[in-house]
Amino acid sequence: MNCEKVQKLLPEYWAETIPVNSHREIEQHLHQCDTCQAEAEMLGELWADLDRLPTLEPSTDVRSRFYGMLDAYRSGVDEKPKRNWFHWAIPAGAFAMLAIGIFVGRVNVTPVDPQIAQLRGEIHGMRQMMALSLLQQQSPADRMRGVSYAYRLDKSDGDVVTALLETVKSDPSVNVRLAAVDAFRKVGTGVAARKALIDSLKAQDSPLVQIAIIELLVDLNDRTTAKSLQSFSVDSAVPKEVQESARWAAGQLN
């Protein structure tokens, strides 16, 4: 085996993926050839050291970005064209979703350009997708972000309301539940949403969340809820402070 042939096989030799007879031949050559021996040793060490360089890990954002993209794609909203648009509107390097938030914030409520209106519709659709996929994530911080997205939607959407309701009822983190109740101010002001919220009061195990729901109902100023709140306030299974809140609320709404 000559020098050139050996060199070609050295990476496999170092990785130990080389067949036995080639291995032997290489060793023979290295034994005889000083230059190859020296080079193989030095480079071999570098090869091994490459493993000890620190690896970079993807941030937790990549997952929500991916799922947001997949969901948006699946509903027929094509994310790609907007990317070029944003690279113009926002400094390169802004996280794509954050860019949407910043951009939409600057646009007036009544768009003049029909193209912008259409774009905003698509952005709204994408925000919904982001909210929905984030609300299902494992990490409470991600679900918190999902609620933030939902809160910033200016129109309500059946799926988002359902997802938020589920979050209010059963999210493992009390704080995420509280944030979800807050989101209902913007998104869940319909009759069905309100009814669902009241129905969830009894089964809610965190008194702080129960009170948050009651306070929300007062702020929404729906007189029809007064009666349910009244009966709730005399339900002995309910913690005392929550009963008091319900009583106060019923009084406010009557």
């Binding site: 890990e57 409470p140 972000r145 009390v174 704080n175 509280l178 944030a179 009170i211």
Partner: protein
Amino acid sequence: MKLAFFLIAAFPLIAQQDYAVAFSDDARPRVLKADIVNGRITVRGYSGKDAIITNESMAREPRRLDTDGVFSLTEQNNVITLNGGVRKQANLTIQVPHRTSLQLRCTNCGELRVEGIEGDIDVNTVNGGVRLINVSGSVLAHSLNQSVTAIIDRVDPNKAMSFSSMNGSIDCTFPTDLRANVRMRTTNGKIHTDFDVRLAGGEAIRMDRGISGTINGGGPEILFKAFNGSIHIRKK
């Protein structure tokens, strides 16, 4: 599921025992989950790679170490899960690398304390206060019957925070250059803030029990919710 810990010190008569657990892959994000019914948890960030759990509960009888009596510990895929304090008190001090995410629950704890951690922090206690010192990242902290105190080192513009308590007060300290969108609400308490909060225009929110607005132009959302307690927001 893998039970992967080894004893550092095993003296049955001495009250303190240490366990070290390695995370499967210390280059990837780490999570510590703990659920203690009776006892106390303190989590401290340190510059090592493993999680070190110190059990400071009193060992009543001099017998072989049996963590099952106090708590159970498993590690899988970089998530360390700890459950305990059911029949006996579990007073635990856990040291983890500074960048670790935490999900901690403690029912009857003296105080749940976290120091020097950067990550997604989600803590919930029933009868016990929450004290977070020098933390950053996404912080969700709740105590049902006692106070929540936090000193936040750094606020990440992409991460929301939320602090809540039913029967305790909320006292949070932030860096002076804090930028945030805040919502503070308490039913039977007062709200004090060192920061100027610019009230949000256009938002139809009743102001009688709450303040909603931006600090220094706005930023990530920080929510504060108390019922029978006050809310204090301080500058560092």
